[in-house]
Symmetry: C2
Amino acid sequence: MGYDLKPSPFAPERFPDMPEIAGATLFTTASGLKYQGRDDLLLVLLEEGTAAAGVFTRSATAAAPVHWCRRALRESGGQARMLVVNAGNANAFTGRAGEETARITAEEAARLVDAAPQQVQVSSTGVIGEPFEASGLTRHFPAMLAGAPATWEEAARAIMTTDTYPKGAAATCTVNGKQVRICGIAKGSGMIAPNMATMLAYVFTDAAVPAPLLQKLLAEVVEETFNRITVDGDTSTNDTVLAFATGKGGAKVEGDDTETLSVFRKALHAVCLDLALQIVRDGEGISKFVAVHVKGAPDEAAARAVGMSIANSPLVKTAVAGEDPNWGRIVMAVGKAGVPVDQQKLEIFIGGQLVARNGAVVPEYSESAAAEHMRGREIDIAVDLHMGKAALTVWTCDLTHAYIDINADYRS
Amino acid sequence: MGYDLKPSPFAPERFPDMPEIAGATLFTTASGLKYQGRDDLLLVLLEEGTAAAGVFTRSATAAAPVHWCRRALRESGGQARMLVVNAGNANAFTGRAGEETARITAEEAARLVDAAPQQVQVSSTGVIGEPFEASGLTRHFPAMLAGAPATWEEAARAIMTTDTYPKGAAATCTVNGKQVRICGIAKGSGMIAPNMATMLAYVFTDAAVPAPLLQKLLAEVVEETFNRITVDGDTSTNDTVLAFATGKGGAKVEGDDTETLSVFRKALHAVCLDLALQIVRDGEGISKFVAVHVKGAPDEAAARAVGMSIANSPLVKTAVAGEDPNWGRIVMAVGKAGVPVDQQKLEIFIGGQLVARNGAVVPEYSESAAAEHMRGREIDIAVDLHMGKAALTVWTCDLTHAYIDINADYRS
């Protein structure tokens, strides 16, 4: 990489404490495939009986490993014994050779643990369009499984590309008197966009959750977390969120127990939201974190369209970078969202301060107070459409010179 | 403006030669409303019998002058005696006061030429959300109309905001043995986006064209020209394209004469396309001009969606800025366009060279040749979806540091 990545100003001081998940063991190594001097290959060994669920990119040019994962989940009935993730090469738009690489990777991993290839989930992230041999990964598998297990932090580091810090989150909850642990790791910094299961994220729990229920919960929670963040509006070919429930912790989550379900869903939501926000806070070139709250929308789709229109607007994002409370650009972004907003009813807030109402700026608006808010690191924009009751928040970052530095020179 | 605008590398050496249009007289002045030391107010006096047509932004937060123009065109049956354009203040999201400003501006202009207010078209461009008094414009009208007429170049300069050069284009054609002159001026540099009548552009002809026919032709041609360019994907609240046919040149264009219609339409198309491309070539921060050709699409909407997805992708635009033939990002942008593309059939070309086919890079691909093309100023990207017969081209520019400089600091 030609550009020297500076750490995000939101980089946490240290990786969070995360408990072990019974039935899931992590291994990492340096594959030598692309990066020098760092681990870039992750294996997660899952005990028999682990349920798996996945949500993937909606890109029409989805990568080979995404195709593999979708089919493997379907053919295995949502069972998994292994997860393989490599960073540095996305195995996307690599044609038949790429499909072979994904298949052979899964077959070799499966052979080592005496499982069906469909019980192996495979993910790749990195450059698009450069085929590589499965052996570049598989030749490391026996030594990895024979070696010492890795920590969550090591696992999170092994899947990074332009990320400037490793991302992990954990939650616990108690269902029917038994403790449930949920741990997740994620990577992502650029090519982060709406309307899909964003980037690579893996969530593990020791609860027993039937695969169809796990799939339903994951899809719902992804919609409310990963699908509400954006860095640059560009949707990846490899976006993948996978959840694994080993069932080795003793707790059971079942569909007909609404109390249990609600507790577990809340913990799963907390882990996914934490990871999603960590991705935004490490958005390529970020200097400010932006929450865009939309309320009074006629329905959730309209709320999301308005929120994403603001969050993806280059003019809003550069205004934030320039610490300019340029609320006219928020008006512009609301207007282009494709929602029949009535500008006479629209209210706009910056940092909690009402800026505009009745189609114009309010007399008591203090631009100096808004400018003061914009000089902070956490920017809060809110719009109330006064059209209905739907409300939601999307999260993004600003658009800075560093984004251009990183992306005008990433491949070289 | 805090940022010192550098001229676009595509700035032409000189403004084009443009003939006078009989029945249309231009006047400019410095209103003192916002800019210092430059003309920022344009009046175009149109002789009686001038037909008018307009295409406007589809923004839900459209500005007061856009509301005025739509209603005035409807109520006047497409007749116009005057056009008023001010630069520096968009009169957008200015509430009831803004609507009053547009109305009073039209009434004052109409009074001076003894016309109905609905025969005055009014446009504004500049900052959003700051109301201003109509008198700031109207107090200059009598002196302007009494003074010397302006040239096309002076008129084009008077409507600029972040533009780095004035934009004009002209064409002539002959219908039924009579010469037709078509002249247009435009402004626009940022907040340029698809799915609307982009920015401010005014086209004048001395042919006689009935207003409903002029409206039909303008709408068709705008769809093929202004609606196929993008700088940053941000749709303005004030986008306006107006056409005026004075009928003072002697030529008549009528709907039942298909030969005449075709000749006139072609000339109108040439003027609009020329202006649209001048807007892209002055895109905020531009270093390279990019043509994105899409063919083999199932229909025009799909072709446009794929073309705009490529043209608006920050990752494609920064790769162009970095002179990197990063075709994987083109794959990504095709994939996220919402069109069910078959990646096995997709072909990608850079600078005319086939890069990828059958879901992978082709063996004969020369990255050095592609890199050489990327070092040029005019970048050519093409994709063939092999799904059908629809084809079109969209035009854009790259995303550079200068875009951020301009937009992080425009208001201050």
